[in-house]
């Protein structure tokens, strides 16, 4: 399916109703923004929805960057989502078969209030926030993406994790009927990822439901995906159906596949090379003009979020715990 076809899909076919309502709310907020004196913002992207304004302090917290955004077409046509094929263009071509509504997420494990919730209930009452994050892929390219979503911490707290919850494990949907890529065992399906509880609770960690002010396209992990901006992209698991609080470090798909290449933490680190890709520099996929002569840029420790997250790893040898 061509990009144009993707863009022409009726909203009912790509958009979860609840998210669509949230989008409406966002648009309402946008309409109200000038009246509230929030205009004059020079940025091209939509300002955050009313109710949870992003203050300069939050900008300092890493919630937003003023770097050139990656184009919507590029964010939605260049995806690693092996459930729909291993080529970058496969997901945007094949992911239309993913049904994102109704969608339920099972939350369980070491918590007081486990449950199987509809997506609507999972994020009920949490106003979506816009976060403009850098995304660094382990393959050496990067993007700048305006996400819409809710802080993962806000969602997790509702389930009242116990003191035994040291880690959080995530699982992606794995359905042969909807995901043609799962017919081939490029990964031991279902795709699994995990975070340490303090990483999961970090204010930068986002449960994304949209990007560029729109609901999340299937190829980007609709209807619900994780975004952990200081880690390599593969940690940001897509199309989540299960969240489990666990005591021991959970199994993660890429680590299981090749432990020497993909660690559990997978923090962006220019000083720890992947055996096959140098992590010192990256190709930034951004801008509106030609990307042919785009400069390679230096990769920053924790993808540039060191001020916010370095404290999580004090005392850890990052070469061992890569």
């Amino acid at each position: 399916m061509s990009l144009r076809q993707v863009l022409n899909l009726p909203a009912s076919q790509i958009t979860d109703e609840a998210i669509y309502r949230d989008r409406r709310r966002l648009l309402t907020a946008l309409a109200l923004a000038p009246a509230l004196g929030l205009s004059g913002c020079a940025e091209a992207e939509a300002p955050p929805p009313a109710g949870k304004p992003v203050s300069p302090e939050q900008a300092k917290a890493g919630f937003r960057t003023d770097e050139v955004l990656t184009r919507f077409e590029d964010v939605t046509s260049y995806n690693n989502f092996y459930e729909f094929g291993t080529n970058k263009g496969d997901p945007s071509a094949a992911a239309k078969t993913l049904r994102t509504s109704p969608w339920t997420v099972a939350v369980g494990g070491a918590c007081a209030k486990p449950g199987k919730l509809s997506l609507e209930d999972l994020i009920k009452g949490l106003a979506p926030q816009e976060r403009i994050y850098r995304l660094r892929c382990v393959e050496g390219w990067s993007m700048v993406i305006p996400w819409l979503g809710v802080p993962l911490a806000d969602v997790l707290k509702r389930f009242e994790p116990t003191s035994k919850a040291k880690y959080v494990a995530f699982t992606t949907l794995s359905d042969r009927k909807q995901m043609p890529g799962t017919a081939y065992d490029s990964i031991n399906w279902p795709y699994r990822e995990g975070l340490r509880i303090d990483e999961a609770m970090h204010p930068l960690t986002l449960l994304a439901t949209g990007l560029y002010g729109k609901s999340l396209p299937q190829q980007n992990g609709a209807p619900l995906r994780l975004v952990v901006p200081w880690k390599y992209g593969f940690k940001s698991i897509k199309s989540i159906i299960a969240i489990t609080f666990v005591e021991k470090m959970p199994v993660t798909s890429w680590n299981q596949l090749q432990p020497s290449e993909y660690g559990f933490f997978s923090n962006v680190n220019p000083n720890v090379d992947h055996p096959r890709w140098s992590q010192k520099t990256e190709r930034r996929i951004a801008g509106t003009g030609s990307k042919l002569f785009a400069d390679r840029i230096a990769t920053r420790l924790y993808n540039g979020y060191a001020d916010q997250v370095a404290g999580l790893y004090t005392g850890m040898n990052l070469k061992t715990w890569f």
């Binding site: 990656t70 184009r71 077409e73 590029d74 964010v75 046509s77 260049y78 092996y82 291993t86 970058k88 263009g89 393959e139 390219w141 081939y184 490029s186 990964i187 596949l257 090749q258 090379d273 055996p275 096959r276 890709w277 140098s278 010192k280 520099t281 190709r283 996929i285 509106t288 003009g289 030609s290 990307k291 042919l292 002569f293 785009a294 400069d295 390679r296």
Partner: protein, 211 residues
């Protein structure tokens, strides 16, 4: 023959022409159908065609032996040179477009990254073959020429390895090329064993065929 050669030239240049057009569009409009990461697309496309032409070159000898059409041999040199052309363009794209501004990283990449080491080695080994591809060099080197040009077997293996090691988990595409290399080299091995046998066994001896 001239028409046939012109056709092969045109076919071998087609991927480069298409890519050149797309690069031009990309340069002018910012969207030339090369996707979100045009630099990676250019590298991949050039590398893939280098590998394909290498395998087509390697297929000439078995095809001649199977069909008996010696005329095929007349295309071998040009196909081999096109493989070298695409491999060089592939390397140039890596250096000029991808590593742009980080030239020094190339030495580290060659030393530290096995897939780049073998890829670079394959390209290095292609140089003496390209240099000695002229009639004059063939004459001057005599029997040594044939021995030297057997480097192509090692180059094919290295090229497939280069591809294999850069994929993350889906090995199907490099596996396909590995299988083709295995068939092309396996055929030669089979031929050699079969020919030796028939030469040592007078009962089945046939007049020797030129290699």
């Amino acid at each position: 023959m001239i028409a046939a050669k012109a056709l092969v030239h045109a076919l071998a240049l087609t991927p480069a022409a298409i890519l050149a057009w797309q690069i031009r569009e990309e340069f002018l409009t910012g969207s030339g159908g090369l996707g979100a990461d045009p630099i990676a697309a250019i590298e991949h496309r050039l590398g893939l065609w280098a590998l394909r032409l290498l395998l087509i070159t390697l297929a000439i000898t078995p095809l001649r032996q199977l069909t008996g059409h010696s005329v095929l041999l007349r295309f071998r040199r040009m196909l081999g040179l096109y493989a070298f052309f695409y491999a060089s363009a592939h390397l140039a794209a890596y250096l000029l477009l991808d590593l742009k501004g980080y030239w020094t990283q190339i030495f580290e990449e060659i030393a530290k990254r096995p897939y780049i080491t073998v890829g670079f080695l394959a390209w290095l080994l292609l140089i003496p073959l390209a240099v000695t591809s002229t009639q004059g060099m063939m004459r001057r080197l005599g029997r040594l020429w044939g021995k030297l040009h057997r480097l192509i077997y090692a180059i094919a293996v290295l090229a497939v390895l280069h591809f294999w090691w850069l994929v993350k988990s889906d090995i199907r595409e490099p596996l396909l090329y590995a299988a083709i290399v295995a068939v092309l080299l396996g055929w030669r091995l089979y031929k050699r064993v079969a020919d030796t046998r028939s030469r040592t066994n007078p009962a089945t001896a046939r007049p020797p065929k030129p290699l």
